[in-house]
Symmetry: C2
């Protein structure tokens, strides 16, 4: 059976889940695929290209199931939550996606879906792009942090040697908090801003006067 591009991606994803991004080498990937490391270069230009394909596979989950029709802000929130879950589904998923400037098909599909949501709601295309960027950065940053388990261990270690400062107490609380709740809080901050601007552009006051 001949090696196909899709097989390489599947193998790389399995290796990623098993050992993490730092242990994902072309040599180990070759071994898993029953091939010399050099052989992979017939299918992919270089390691970066493999990682881009892996990133696109991960992001593909976001558009795998269709979106329920509904209000634009609910849809945008759903999109953000899907992206976070897709990243969390694979070890170091957020780092892989953040590290590759993805122009692959699945990522394009996701971006276009998000833009349609915004423009359908009456947002001008360029502002919709800026909103999409802001939301994406937030999701990536938050999820990278969630997957960096170092955080917890390091902080606990440090907390013992440090004086009981305000920052210290806060970090304890932030780490103990439910990550999904924390994620949703920040996402809602952004969505509030978008709602405000959308209402302004519709020529309404920021007071909700309708009933």
């Amino acid at each position: 059976m001949q090696l196909k591009r899709a097989d390489v991606v599947t193998g790389a994803l399995a290796l990623l889940d098993a050992d993490g991004l730092d242990a994902l080498t072309m040599r180990k990937l070759g071994a898993r695929l029953g091939v010399q490391a050099g052989g992979i270069y017939w299918h992919f230009r270089n390691k970066q290209a493999v990682l881009e394909a892996v990133a696109d596979r991960i992001v593909g989950e976001v558009t795998a199931t269709p979106f329920e029709p509904g209000a634009w802000d609910a849809q945008l929130a759903e999109l953000a939550h899907r992206l976070r879950r897709a990243l969390l589904a694979h070890r170091d998923g957020a780092r892989v996606v953040a590290g590759t400037y993805v122009l692959e098909p699945n990522t394009e599909r996701g971006a276009e879906a998000a833009l349609r949501i915004m423009t359908d709601a009456g947002f001008p295309l360029d502002r919709a792009g800026w909103v999409l960027f802001a939301v994406t950065y937030y999701v990536l940053g938050h999820t990278i942090e969630e997957q960096a388990q170092r955080a917890q261990g390091d902080w606990e270690e440090r907390g013992k040697t440090l004086p009981a400062s305000e920052l210290n107490r806060l970090m304890d609380e932030v780490i103990k908090a439910d990550p999904t709740e924390r994620f949703t809080y920040g996402l809602e901050l952004i969505l509030d801003g978008v709602r405000l601007r959308l209402e302004e552009s519709r020529g309404r006051s920021t007071c909700s006067e309708e009933k």
Copy 2:
């Protein structure tokens, strides 16, 4: 003259600015410092520790000059802009800081400054922490993107082979837009959300009725 920790950080930062993060190796750093690569390990546990110290040096600019007294939202915006400028001041600055979970002194100072701004404004400590996380993620994500010049070149190349889609036109506009303006737009989205929550917690309506 003996090698000090601070010299290693200065050398690493110079190497970073000259050649970028990917070319920053312990061997090249040693050469620049007039020392064998192994010698660095007497001062730092490993390469990661060097990068953490570099990250803290970069972030130190944020608290280098005192904050003007003023409204909390203006101060928080100032903090975010300072962080972005500090990251942009060095090649791959955002990637370095994002890649190191920093618990170094300058970063702690910055975090505590930000928390004080929020709690002085009447925000509960735990929510202040969540807001700070959200803002930090946004700044890091946006600035990583700004520093990935790949974006521009790659997209222009791709744009020629792709059909003239809506996404295509948008990306052109987003790339051409002033980065500072784009950054400020997303930041204001978040700040709007924070303002809303602060007003609610003060028991006022979202309508500004004073005046």
